[in-house]
Amino acid sequence: MTSISVIDQLKKAQILELLEEGKRVDGRAFDEPRKLIIETNAIPHANGSARVRLGDTEVICGVKIQPDRPFPDTGDKGLFICTAELLPLSHPTVETGPPQPHVIELARVVDRGIRESHMIDVSQLVIEKDKSVIGVFADNVVVDYDGNLFDACSYASTAALLTSKTPKWNWVDDKPQLVEGGETALPISTIPVSVTMGRIGNHIIVDPNGDEWDSMDARITITSDSNGNICALQKGGSDGFTQDQINQCGEISIRVGAKIREILKESQKGSQ
């Protein structure tokens, strides 16, 4: 244990020292995300899927679309649920068992970013009002960990949703009946992009890798939509930000998010 923590301290000192010289440990600019590689339709059995590599972090998202009962107070809207899980093979410290608080936070932040952007127009996912609606489930699994799971899961979900095909159901004899060959794209209204930034000392860095992630004082994940508006945000980590830094992070997230949105659009084109 002791030896590990000494290495961590040394690494942290090195990362901070480099930042003071204006450099990052892997040579990137402060506002430069890692290389994003998206492979869509990776899982043909799913209604949509994506395998995403963000640097050495790797996430697979599968989208399943099926009839479901609506929530009692929103009978005129379909369901959208996004989850995330860290698989035990993703890192030596990950254990099986009920999800840890940080994994619950991950799933909820990824879900919130997509939900609050209204990416999917759930009002178009109704089979029979108050009785049956279409449920869209985007399940993310982390298969390799090197920091910043928030963005990796968010991009995987978005890429998978953009390429998802929803089956069509008719309401027959009080139950949904599948219409053969009725598959269409999901009703998409915007492309949300999350950008996670870490603060180390007074430096704000985009898309922290695993070592940077362990060295952060605080982090912030900001999701923006296609109109360049901010639609969700989550601050984390055991320290804070100044008001100026929060404003600065808002600007960075919109600027960097716009570039990543183009990569997501390319991945959508590639699958068609």
């Binding site: 936070e105 909820r108 945000l233 320290d239 804070g240 929060i246 808002g250």
Partner: protein, 244 residues
Amino acid sequence: MGGRNATMVLLDENGIRCDGRKIDEPRRIMIKAGGLKNADGSAYIEFGNNKILVGVFGPRDVHPKHMSNTDTGILRVRYHMEPFSVTERKNPAPSRREIEISKVIKEALEPAVMLEKFPRTAVDVFIEVLQADGGTRCAALTAASVALADAGIPMRDMVASIAAGKVADTIVLDVNNEEDQAGQADMPIGYMPSLKKITLLQLDGILTPEEYKKCVDVGVQGCKIVYELQKKALTDKYFGKGGD
């Protein structure tokens, strides 16, 4: 949760909100430091119709032992809602929402508490939401800071918290339950006014870049109002007549 009334006017032509407040006016806030006998520190807050009780224990021995840290003390926070605190009975088991809020509040408090002075110990913060009415995490964080101070734990600052948001295309302070359900954006903010540091920040809802900056600013100004009430609660207990 709350009543979703389509005909409700969120903001009238005079800039008055559905509960009669102005756009930059918080709900009624009452904070009391102390109150629990067994806890090392405690606080009770009424924030609009929110009623929240916070108890603090520690620094004390860590159980289970493997959680203890030889370099610093640890902070543990449990945010919990009573089954009777909301309209429909809530399952008493901790939900995913409560686990996330516990984590967010813990991380908001950590920069304020001088945990490094108490290695191998734990400070436990128990937050019980007796009645919920929108903005519980902010009210809970505000009360938790007072309870930590009441426990005599060395702190760099207190974290004051309130939500800003967007209702009827206007940035407003302290979004209530109705506004949260029908409104356009909700941004809870936790802020340490003396250190000028934001330690809790979340957002759901769509804001333009200008609205985003405005929203952070309105929230920070609101936290300064809450901060004064936190200080007053502590002064009342320790220097006032009605101390217990």
